[in-house]
């Protein structure tokens, strides 16, 4: 048990080191969220009828944070596919380490990397007019980690299922992009057509975005307790599936 904690620690550290060594990627992956935030934000702000007088940029800011976290954490979780392709996973699988420790270490690793990336984005709150109290800031950080953890577990769960790197693009287009677009990161959740209302409600990230938005700018569509419950439930279930799938690997 204690030994497995050592393995969890080192798998977590590995993801952080890989992230830290690859500084160009840190900068590059900020490009897309910045475009969304400033170009889309500025372009649509004049025509946006926001609740409580918030601007469109303010409104989408928590959504853009979730986008950054979503992509970074799912990709980190899915990097297991690369580890398998390039042989490194064998080194881990043949070590005297419990399978559950491998998936948990990986989940924390992916979550932490995404959390750091999200935190870098969060510093932009100073420029978009989102003012956070200390309490709101701390709560936001906790929520961000929770979302990151849920999504990296989700990524691991997918990685255990797809066999080849070719499957990766399919997953991005048909799973990750819809999760982002349907989450209400970029639009309010009321007054939507019925089909879209339905789609947004079954997207787990919807509740993450709502929770973060509620915490940061006090605009939300659901009770925050419900948001918190859904996203926590999702995180636990995804992690459980990831652990079980890893145990089944021969």
């Amino acid at each position: 048990m204690l030994q497995d904690i050592g393995a969890i620690f080192i798998l977590w550290l590995r993801d952080l080191k890989r992230y830290w060594y690859d500084k160009p990627r840190i900068v590059a992956s900020l490009g897309q969220p910045l475009l969304f935030l400033f170009v889309l934000g500025s372009a649509l702000s004049p025509s946006f009828q926001g609740p409580k007088g918030v601007s469109f940029t303010e409104f989408i800011f928590p959504g853009i944070l979730c986008m950054t976290i979503l992509f970074t954490s799912v990709f980190s979780g899915m990097s297991i596919v690369w580890d398998r392709e390039f042989g490194f996973l064998k080194e881990v699988m043949v070590a005297p380490v419990s399978r559950w420790a491998i998936s948990i270490g990986k989940a924390f690793g992916g979550a932490s990397v995404a959390f750091i990336q999200g935190t870098i984005m969060l510093t932009l709150s100073l420029f978009v007019g989102v003012k956070l109290s200390i309490t709101a800031l701390l709560l936001s950080l906790v929520i961000m980690y929770l979302i990151a953890f849920a999504m990296s577990s989700f990524g691991i769960m997918i990685a255990a299922r797809i066999k080849e790197m070719e499957g990766f693009q399919v997953i991005v287009n048909f799973l990750i992009m819809p999760i982002f677009f349907l989450s209400g990161a970029l639009f309010p959740l009321d007054h939507l057509p019925a089909w879209l209302t339905f789609m947004t409600r079954i997207d787990p990230l919807t509740y993450g975005v709502d929770l973060l938005r509620g915490t940061m700018i006090n605009v939300h569509a659901f009770p925050l307790t419900l948001d918190l419950l859904v996203i926590t439930f999702f995180a636990v279930v995804m992690l459980a599936i990831a652990v079980i799938e890893f145990n089944l690997l021969d």
Binding site: Q3, R14, G87, K90, E91, V94, D250
Partner: protein, 260 residues
Amino acid sequence: MQSDEAIKVENLTRRFNGLVAVDSISFSVGHGEIFGFLGPNGAGKTTTINMLCTLLRPTSGIAQVGCCDVSKEPNKVRREIGIIFQDPSLDDRLTADDNLRFHGYLYHMKKEMIEERIPEVLDLVELSDRRREIVKRFSGGMKRRLEIARGLMHRPKILFLDEPTIGLDPQTRVHIWDYILRMRKETGLTIFMTTHYMQEAEVCDRIAIIDHGKIVALDTPAKLKETNGETTLENVFLKLTGRQIRAQSSDTFAPPWRRR
């Protein structure tokens, strides 16, 4: 409890969707022995190694490696063995030091022990000056040497080498054999290896030749040559396994944990 043999295999069998990859093989390897496992592509070498290393569950039969049975107590077996895989298995976006440290943690080594062993094993494979460098920039031979250093990091009792010198130049090959033989002399390491280079196989104390999942010969290199009336191991090998070129079954390309 220490058994007389380092590895003991009885009627070990592995099937993939009805196809028999390893067909009821039996053999044992003594402590400190270098045991060569030869055979054409697709003969069942890697499947056997994967079963002995706990990466693949046997369909039937028993394999005892070190202290324990591979199916019953895989984690105890894993502690006692080191493996140099056929394909690279380093994290090439990390440094040599990171890779070794990572390995140390995975094998539950104490921190002081890790600090002590990293310079030792790097010195052994003459990579001390590259310790802080990202592995991506290493040449093929350097990566291989680092993998050997890593495999020896936790002082395994049994070392598995799956074609350890494939794709390396003669200089590097000679070097790698120097390290391995030195390790055996110093620590009494048991070595189980596969190779396609017959000169390398000469180093072995005993050789098993496997074909179509069955062991067709098992003896010392000298005896094998004698009984088959050949002067070289290469000829013994061709005599026993034929001259036809083998196709590797598609199954062996799938990563071991995906094979059912």
